[in-house]
Amino acid sequence: MARIPRWADLVLVPLISLLLAGIISALVILAIGQSPKEALTTMVTGAVGSSYAWGYTLYYATSFMFTGLAVTVAFHGSLFNIGGEGQAQLGGLGVALVCLAVPWPHWTLALPMAMIAGALFGAAWAAIPAYLQARRGSHIVITTIMFNYIGAALIVYLLVNVLRPPGQMDPATARFPSGAALPTLHDLPLLGLIFDKKIPANVTLFVALIACWLVWLLLWRTRLGYEIRAFGRSEPAARYAGISPFRVTMLAMLISGALAGLMSINNVMGESGRLLQNSSEGAGFIGIAVALMGRNHPIGVFLAAILFGILYQGGAEIGLWTSIPIELRTVVQGLVILFTGALDHMVRMMLGVFFRPRRIEVA
């Protein structure tokens, strides 16, 4: 196969892939009789054109970072966690319970507790599939899918019958006390100057950035991370090295679930201020795409999360302000995943024509 320089692989390949996805998207828009130019401008201005737009883009990106990291950690242990959706929703339950339990005086007190609860609940929802995989060999892909459905049912039941304040129409909890409200980027000093309007992006963004860094540390700088990666590559070899498959499977999935659960401080605590049903809104699934596109590396996850934040917000703007149906967003997301994640070799082969391989002698 053609070899291309590293810089081209890191810069040109993704850019050309994105471009190809863009071209196909434009063709789709033309085919349904709309204007690609209008779509593009709406999308760009709506997602990155102003600090206000960024306030939304970053909000979504924050959620995607958590779910993307969740998928990444499990993936390195060769565990395909499709349960981010359910784990995030359960994490939301934990966050809600903590926020409602105490009349929090200040968010700095509420946030750590909510994070712990969100992570614990998310981890708990990953624990059963993890245990079944480690001890009974039940396929984690199926059990996590099943747990998404079971989690949704559990949440709806709790919201409707237990947590809903009397007389309230929504299947949702009561509002959290104002002391549990997280400051948005608009509310923060200095940043408030850039983000001059009310936006949903909030301090959770920084938690997400720290999480990216911690996951990187975990995977490439700690013994546990080493064990997870070793186990993920070869289970027999891991046994030889004295790595316990049970321990690694459990820990990798618990961390994964905890990361997915942590996402809910962004949407549940930071944005809506109460727990709604389907609070994760598909972020768990987008996390799979984010992790795969980010090549299961925290930096990649970070970039992919921003990209998907842009697509998500920009796509929403198209849905809001043009007559192009919102579903275009899903198509564009899909094409971006396809070209950057699955057809990257095609781009590499195309580029290989320009970068003729130099032959070197066998050493």
Binding site: I32, Y149, L154, Y157, G341
Partner: protein, 322 residues
Amino acid sequence: MDYATLLQILDSTIRLATPLLLACLAGLYSERSGIFDIGLEGKMLMAAMSTGAVAALTGSVWIGLLAGISGAVLFALVHGVASITFRGNQLISGVALNFVASGITVLIAQSLFRQGGRTPPLSGEARFNPITLPFAEALSGVPILGPLYSEVLSGHGALVYIALLAVPVTWWVLFRTRFGLRLRAVGENPASVDTAGISVIRLRYGAVVITGILCGLAGAYMAAGLQAGFGKEMTAGRGYIALAALIFAKWRPWYALMATLLFGFFQALALRPDVIKNTVGFDVPVPALDALPYILTVIVLAGFVGRAIPPRAGGEPYVKER
């Protein structure tokens, strides 16, 4: 539970299991050839939309079916190009195509019919109408078996019977034909196929196209058999359930029938709170009922199937030269 109720639940089981079965067999061909496919959902959706749209436009369900198959095969080919020719990541390609399908079906339906991404309701020849199996009337009087035949087995759309027939056919193809031997081999060890002088690429494309065709049948059944038209996201996760059934079935056709019937049965049972209440003796909360098929699946997986070993070469592109 009385016999009539059981019959109704079984009847419902067959309908609910059919799209799962077709999708499960579809996945079986692809994965047996070493190409993982989490894009079953997307292909079914695409097929449902194409069938719904073309059947509505032409008034013929068979032309609609052809369109549905074409739509699904088109997506299958894209998956093939990405994962076979360009050796891309099969999981990513599958996820991506699910996204694309979820959006593009609505875009197309909306731009064709302007009914909010739905296709117009189908009726008459534009739908798969129930087929009464021979002697269904005559045999319905036979105790026990008679009603089973005339009420449960008889009276479904053509695709139900095609799906049921696809099980022995798949078994036969897989284990009794040259193509099947090669297909199984290429999913286990593509190098063995290659060194035997057979084209890995051609075999895998063949498998992927069959996957497309079967997904096409599944989607068409949903749009023109179970329903009378396409609606946004109408597959509602059945592609994923089919995948679960495939693993459950350990990639074997008869097991696939069992697994999908079991899933279908759980789903049908969950539609009958009255039956469950009578069985367990207390009122089961509605969400618990909804979760029932999934809970039962987990229990079954934890208890009865051990480790399911996928085809060994699955998910990995065949690369000779590193």
